[in-house]
Symmetry: C2
Subunit: 341 residues, 2 copies
């Protein structure tokens, strides 16, 4: 006689149907150690016939591992994080883990709310955009929460967390060397807020090279790290320092804004002004002209972070923080020109 309600089939059903104990089914299905070949094959056949799907929630409850990781970024719509997310998801999937996506909006309370919720779900690890806008107390709470956390930038005090990030300083150096090699001397730099770690590192590398080569200090403008920010800064720049022959924008979005402002001012890239960005977003090649920029390994950052997380999750009790620095490189396209002379 058949039942009406199509209940989900459990390990018990498989056990009954194949005439063995649930524990045998469990062993047969996961690993298969210590089970007679025949029994196992029969169990597997029954499981298949019944269309049995193990309940990973139940398994997680006893094993203590949920096989899910979380990614907390400021906003997945930022193409930078979309790339990181893809890398992270691929790496997670390769390890048979899910990736939970969270958009923290750089809001401390919101982000802490996410983390607490994730802890209740017993995620095996958390991958975070950043923690440097959190209070010291909040950072402490995170670092002692029991699950491994990897940050996508440095800025964690006293090495509380593991980190993965690109070599921003080297990238800044690359940009400066490139501009110099093209003969530029009157250079402007568009960057983010003064205390933003990544931005500061890029600027440091950039400035260091100019100084080493005896070039003039660049005109440096601080603003929002966005299209609008780049646009505004460039407008101001063009009004006040129209003699610049080149601009280093500390990220591609700012470079796009700069390109717009330059265009609106009736000037052209690279003919009138050379422009170099940072990040190498996929869309940086759709711009006219295609943007020369510093490539940052975004996908690889996501992968690396997940690898660290997984290792930390396995190690257990006393995980030692790991810091991984990823290389950058110059992507030469068509937004910079060589100065004659």
């Amino acid at each position: 006689m058949e039942t009406f309600a199509k209940m989900t089939v459990t390990i018990k059903d498989v056990a009954r149907e194949s005439g063995v104990n649930v524990s045998t089914v469990s062993r047969a299905l996961s690993g298969g150690y210590g089970v007679h070949r025949e029994t196992r094959q029969q169990v597997m056949a029954v499981a298949a016939r019944l269309n049995y799907r193990p309940n990973r929630v139940a398994r997680g409850l006893v094993t203590g591992r949920s096989h899910s990781l979380a990614l907390v970024v400021s906003d997945i719509r930022n193409p930078f994080f979309a790339e990181v997310a893809r890398g992270a998801e691929d790496a997670a999937r390769a390890a048979n883990c899910d990736l939970i996506l969270c958009n923290g909006d750089l809001d401390a309370d919101k982000q802490m709310g996410y983390v607490r919720s994730l802890l209740e779900k017993r995620v095996d690890g958390i991958l975070m955009n950043s923690a440097d806008f959190l209070s010291r107390k909040q950072q402490q709470e995170l670092s002692s929460c029991g699950v491994p956390i990897v940050l996508l930038n440095r800025a964690a005090p006293r090495g509380l967390f593991s980190t993965v990030h690109a070599d921003n300083e080297a990238g800044g150096r690359l940009a400066a060397e490139y501009l110099l090699s093209l003969g530029h001397r009157r250079i402007a730099q568009l960057t983010g807020p003064r205390r933003h770690g990544n931005m500061t590192d890029r600027a440091r590398g950039f400035n260091a090279v100019l100084q080493e080569r005896g070039a003039a200090e660049p005109v440096t403008l601080h603003g929002a790290m966005s299209f609008a920010g780049g646009w505004e800064l460039t407008r101001a720049l063009l009004e006040r320092h129209s003699r610049c022959t080149s601009i280093f924008a500390a990220n591609d979005m700012m470079a796009f804004g700069a390109a717009r402002a330059i265009w609106e001012a009736g000037k052209r890239v690279p003919d009138d002004i050379s422009l170099i960005g940072f990040d190498n977003l996929e869309i940086s090649m759709v711009l006219h002209p295609p943007l020369t920029t510093i490539h940052q390994p975004k996908y690889e950052t996501g992968c690396a972070a997940v690898e660290i997380l997984l290792r930390l999750a396995k190690t257990g009790e006393h995980p030692v923080a790991e810091h991984r620095l990823l290389g950058v490189k110059l992507i030469e396209r068509q937004s910079c020109r060589r100065l004659r002379g």
Copy 2:
């Protein structure tokens, strides 16, 4: 005396510490119905002191609801899906659910693998990019899997699934009307594969208006729905049909590719050729000139899909499929010009 191993504190600990039974703690903490005010407050105080975090995995095991939803897109790096994902995540969060991110790459096996894995995790619902590249059998498997599924386009045969999608046909009409109103008569259309649902709908609307107004049938080129696709088609177009005054690209990425090809051919947008896209990706305004396009409510699509999922998940046994059609609108920027005459 303190223990060394910092075990995670459970509901039992709270119960013991506050001198009541676990079930009372459970009631006090969730809902609070049928618990004396004082007892509840005391329990809550103890829970706070012990820094108790309920284990949602355990709760899920008994309630049968995991409070997680999944989003399966082809690739989160596609800015379109990033927007959808953000909408979905916000809506999920508002309902206290997590969102698991999956990148299916439009690979049938990969996508089915994801779904099976998600079912084992007992997600409460799945939000999918598309299912029309799956075999009939696979679609059947999905539709009878037990958890609600919402698709981000139509194309599901026999209404097996719920769907949310933009009014593509209306968008195509809008584009045609606009081009016509600017005086364009020699129009080209760049679109995707012949059997792609969304693309076909856009083309249908577009062509219908041209026909209604007695305009010539547009030159229609089919190709990849990407930057490269738009670029290639436009190169071919410019070689063979150089008399076109305007191009309708069936999505923004193709429009970007078209813009590049036009630029490389020494022509200018909109002076020589007007260009209109579809999607209104955030980056469409960074292009030079800013791209005129049809706005599609991507964020809202994600929200709506999650709402439907949640409603379906609540209803339980016999969920009736829901189909939601979202409006589109013309975003006029600077990539189309009025023809004199």
